[in-house]
Symmetry: C2
Subunit: 277 residues, 2 copies
């Protein structure tokens, strides 16, 4: 573990750490915002942010404006990278597969299966590390954007006991049914669509427990809304099993961090209520 950045921010500290990840089989980086309470040694709940396609750990920590709200609620916010990285790691020329596009699954197909284990990294290895090295309690929430919104929903639905709260910005809710997900899942999981169900929020929600209230914000001017995101599929799936969902369609908002920053305060408040309950 090596701290490679630290900046005072809203009375706490934004840091970036590099560490050797056993499940990714290489170096990994994550951002962590430590509110002042955590710096004083008080154990704080931890909110995990999963970023979208092409992002590293930097996009969220520089653009989302989360620190102000994390400071107000005394919540730690952890933002991992979106894939394994490095010359030894398989890649693809497309922006939507390979490095920067791990899709938060554990790949089962070569060459991806060697390093692409972002699900286990996010759900197991990273929380264990955070809870060992920082003043973190075991109260965990998870949220994310686009590919990372998919990641947040799927991670929480697969490991319901590990999270107290879940939300998403413009998530890919049904990767099995849209081009981004079909391309990634075919590569990481193989052509058998039956295997994809275990990584698809619209499928997983059918049998999910416990039933945390989901908060989802979606911009109506999002250029990926109809082709890749399709929130109506999550609405239908949740309605069928009476899973509580608040989907807020936001007129005029696009897919950018300007959209994310605008509603970040609402999301962190949503998580803080559950994490501190």
């Amino acid at each position: 573990m090596e701290r490679i950045e630290q900046h005072a921010s809203f009375g706490g500290r934004q840091e970036v750490w590099r560490h050797a990840s056993s499940c990714l089989r290489g170096d990994a980086r994550f951002g962590i915002y430590l509110p002042s309470a955590a710096l004083r040694g008080e154990r704080c709940p931890v909110l995990y942010w999963l970023s979208g396609l092409t992002c590293t750990e930097q996009n969220f920590i520089t653009k989302a404006g989360a620190q102000e709200h994390a400071a107000r609620h005394d919540v730690i916010v952890v933002a991992p990278d979106t894939s394994p990285r490095g010359e030894a790691v398989a890649d693809d020329p497309g922006y939507d597969l390979g490095q920067g596009a791990g899709f938060y699954v554990d790949a089962t197909v070569a060459p991806w299966s060697t390093h692409y284990r972002m699900h286990t990294y996010v759900a197991q290895e990273l929380p264990a590390l955070v809870e060992r090295h920082f003043a973190a309690s075991e109260a965990r929430g998870i949220f994310g954007h686009s590919m990372g919104g998919h990641g947040a929903l799927v991670t929480a639905l697969r490991e319901p006991g590990r999270y107290r709260s879940v939300s998403a910005f413009a998530p890919i809710v049904a990767p099995s049914q849209v081009p981004w997900g079909e391309k990634a899942f075919a590569a990481y999981l193989g052509p058998e669509r039956a295997a994809w169900r275990a990584w698809d929020a619209v499928e997983l929600v059918k049998t999910a427990a416990p039933r945390w209230p989901l908060l989802v914000d979606q911009g109506e001017a999002d250029e990926f809304l109809a082709g890749q995101l399709r929130p109506e599929l999550l609405v239908q799936a949740c309605a069928a099993v009476e899973h509580p969902l608040t989907l807020r369609m936001q007129p005029g908002y696009d897919h950018s961090y300007y959209f994310i920053a605008t509603f970040m305060g609402d999301h962190i408040a949503h998580h803080a209520r559950a994490l501190r309950a």
Copy 2:
């Protein structure tokens, strides 16, 4: 004038425009945040942000978190680029001279004098453009960071009737006395130090009127504090002429946008009080 970006943000809109600048003799870009009141056509005061070395118009609009506060106070915020740009524009291999480092002066020495007229651009051409094309009132404030903090102080002190409020984050207060300023002024203004005084806040404040209260935030962990920024020189100069100055030394804070974002709300509130008085 061509709008090249627009994003809904905190109920208003963050836009980026490109236009042909007569005083820079080439294309220029600026970011503009329009709060909802301005989008409805109500004339709002305008706060000009001047960025630091290496920045374009993007750094501030993506990292400073200003939109939330501008929306709350119904203030337009305009962020120009830090220099003229393009293949025809003189440049230097250093990060602290030439493109990305205009220092908000009107250069008098070749080859810089052809395009490097950022003072006139910021103080005259850009406000005229903004007040013609947007729902902007003539109530203007100005603030900035580092090289842009110098720019904000100097622009306001040179054109006191044009601004109602001034503030700065980690400004270069005495460019004539520090390496960044000595290098830039020698290039843009020539070796005669007498000519530099007209572009140095510590010199200009000696004869300044009117006496707006200056707000300056400075991080104590700023790596450029002792070598380039030297706020004590501004304190002495203001004390000598009883110019009101609030200098807040912020323990632990560095020179980054994490520092800027933390105190952005205070600065926009400071300006809004004067601009709406």
